[in-house]
């Protein structure tokens, strides 16, 4: 059993089994990168979550993440609708962002390459990705409303 550290002042404890954490990181990584993570990233994810000072009072948000995984919803498409302007990020944003940081630093994710892309194709890439974003955002909003995700 892995016990997440609880920040003082927050009341709710979340004990999660390693299996559910592994399932979580695998699903969220798939949503971000279209493939499953390697074991090293999974270990880093579990380690980081146990070290970080997570506000587990937002248990509803943990349930949201679980619901997204259970129903195999579009986590990346839903996340922008849950982004917060206030003091704390939503738990889904936190977890996706954590995976992004770990992936960027593991040396194996070419998505973070700093080498040049084909500049003549950059416009087309940006236009294509923007339209894909629109579709993902639309799908994310639809799923958020349909499944009552908050």
């Amino acid at each position: 059993m892995l016990t997440l550290k609880i920040r003082e002042g927050f009341s709710l404890i979340t004990d999660r089994s390693n299996n559910s954490l592994i399932e979580e990181v695998r699903y969220l990584h798939l949503s971000l990168f279209g493939r499953y993570p390697d074991n090293r990233l999974i270990d880093s994810y579990c380690d980081a979550l146990s070290e970080l000072d997570l506000p587990t009072a937002v248990n509803q948000q943990n349930l949201t993440v679980e619901k997204i995984i259970f129903h195999k919803l579009d986590a990346a498409g839903i996340e922008p609708w849950l982004r917060k302007k206030n003091k704390y990020r939503h738990m889904l944003s936190i977890k996706l962002l954590l995976i992004a940081y770990l992936a960027e630093c593991d040396g194996g994710h070419t998505e973070f390459s700093r080498n040049s892309t084909n500049s003549s194709l950059a416009f087309f890439a940006i236009a294509y990705l923007s339209s894909m974003s629109f579709l993902r955002l639309t799908r994310g909003l639809f799923q958020k409303l349909r499944y009552g995700i908050v």
Partner: protein
């Protein structure tokens, strides 16, 4: 009891500038003076990312993820374990509206002070800057010889280009730092069309040496500014501290914090507390120079005058940030090696000498940028490599003046509390963006964000110098209003802030005040 002619408190930029002026005298510097044991093991961010070692980048306890839950919990530049030590001194809070603390921060107990984390833009003020900011009892001429001396000591890179009127004439510049293709594009477009432009644009003046200088190796531009305080070629006050210590030009008393002082007609008795043992010692000096940083110097003066609850003016310089996009550079390569500050600009308006620093975000991780892109993270990740080659960030500074509502005080427990409710949006943003469009650079007002108060790190104005100081103000020679032998030498004495970064000026002013102390005749 030990006795010195001069005691300086703090080894930050102000303390070091004063110490250089007083070196060889009977001089002691009292400083907490910590350094970190953490080391960033790579000389460039690219090498670090390629190594596939997340903990070396993100920290053994994931310190770089300190903002994962609360985006504004810690300044982006102070996250890494190898940098955090820079701001782990006496804590303070900044409140931007009643009940809302927008910054939990701390003073610096680091040897070299906050210069360990500065952006290294060292800029002179001229009389137009000082006149626009207002309330200064001295003019730029009084600082001129100290600017020259410091620049010769530090080594400043830059170029005598269109920004010479804004930044000042000098003949001793080192070659400028390399710039990204996007910044080079902007500069070339500006040079082709500048006659009709309402802005001036050019290279900044940086305390970054680009060729061997006084025995120091040049910077290798590894873009590790967010991961290490120890980069070859980037000047910090710590370098001068080491020089002074090695040459035996002063006594350096590390591990001590000054907690009180008492002036008599002939000397000052300084009470210092050992950080390790909590024991106090008393040191006697003819002159005491307080250079702990604006906030901590103000705290010490308030405590020493039993002035709990007394409000002092407080000035910060929270900048406005705007992403800039150069579509014709989308997809172009990101430089292998670069320095964050690329260019500097100002509006050609004598009454609004705003400073626009133009940065390249290559020293940030891509993941740092994801939350600011209003798209799904997976597509944002694919967009970034296409966008970043054609992206810059403008950091806009304008003059900052004291306001009665923006103040610093100590609460009943002695904790520092800063209220900063008065902060206006940058009023000339539309004009600036319109001018940049002439050069193929695009953005939108809605993309601009204001840094919260306290995040500017250019603190000043708590003990402003005046011709005829009142309580909690200082004389032109740095003396506290009611003291002959105790002087404030740091940013606390600057009565207002022009748009420019104040680092070089507070150093020059500290050297000037040290010179006054040296020649005061008692």
């Amino acid at each position: 009891m030990e006795s010195f002619d001069f005691v300086i408190v703090g080894s930050g930029p102000a303390g070091i500038a004063a110490a250089r002026r007083l070196q060889g005298q009977s001089l002691c510097m009292i400083d907490v003076g910590i350094r970190t044991q953490e080391r960033f093991p790579y000389s460039s961010l690219r090498d670090a990312l390629a190594a596939g070692d997340p903990k070396s980048i993100l920290g053994s306890k994931w310190e770089m993820l300190g903002n994962l839950v609360e985006p504004q919990k810690i300044h982006a530049k102070l996250r890494h374990a190898a940098i955090r030590y820079v701001a782990n001194g006496t804590p303070f809070t900044v409140t931007d509206k009643p009940g809302n603390i927008c910054l939990y921060a701390a003073g610096s107990h680091a040897a070299g002070g906050m210069s360990n984390a500065w952006g290294a833009q060292l800029l002179r003020y001229n009389d137009l800057d000082i006149g626009e900011a207002g309330d200064w009892p001295i003019n730029a001429t009084a600082l001129a010889p100290y600017y020259l001396d410091l620049e010769a000591h530090i080594g400043i890179s830059g170029e005598m280009d269109d920004m010479r009127e804004f930044l000042g004439e000098t003949e001793t510049l080192l070659p400028p730092t390399p710039i990204s293709p996007a910044a080079a594009y902007l500069l070339s477009k500006y040079n082709a069309r500048k006659k009709q432009s309402l802005i001036s644009l050019g290279r900044s003046r940086l305390a970054v040496i680009t060729e061997s200088f006084r025995g120091y190796a040049p910077c290798d531009f590894g873009e590790i500014d967010f991961f290490s305080t120890e980069q070859d070629g980037i000047y910090t006050a710590y370098r001068s501290l080491n020089e002074l210590r090695r040459a035996g030009r002063m006594e350096y008393r590390a591990g001590h914090e000054v907690i009180a002082y008492k002036e008599t007609p002939d000397f000052v008795e300084i009470t210092a507390r050992s950080i390790a043992t909590n024991e106090t010692t008393i040191i006697r000096a003819k002159h005491l120079l307080l250079g702990c940083g604006a906030i901590q110097t103000a705290r010490l003066v308030l405590l020493n005058n039993n002035a709990i609850g007394r409000k002092l003016p407080f000035i910060d310089h929270p900048p406005t940030l705007v992403p800039l996009f150069i579509p014709s550079m989308f997809g172009s390569s990101m430089p292998d090696r670069s320095y964050p500050v690329q260019l500097i600009a100002t509006l050609k308006q004598a009454t609004h000498r705003d400073m626009i620093s133009i940065y390249y975000p290559g020293a940030l991780l891509f993941s740092d940028l994801l939350p600011d892109i209003p798209l799904p993270m997976n597509t944002a990740l694919k967009l970034l490599p296409n966008l970043l080659g054609g992206m810059l960030v403008a950091q806009i500074w304008e003059k900052s003046r004291p306001h009665k509502d923006n103040c610093l005080q100590l609460d009943q427990s002695g904790a520092i509390r800063i209220d900063y409710p008065r902060r206006e949006p940058y009023p000339r943003l539309a004009l600036l963006l319109r001018e940049l469009r002439r050069f193929g650079v695009y953005s939108h007002r809605r993309l601009a964000s204001m840094s919260p108060p306290g995040w500017g790190f250019h603190y000043a104005g708590c003990l402003p110098m005046r011709d005829h100081p009142n309580r909690f103000e200082t004389h032109i020679d740095g003396r506290l209003w009611n003291r002959m032998r105790v002087r404030a030498i740091d940013g606390s004495v600057l009565p207002s802030l022009p748009a420019k970064n104040h680092s070089l000026t507070l150093m020059a002013n500290a050297a000037r005040i040290a010179n006054e102390a040296l020649n005061c005749g008692y």
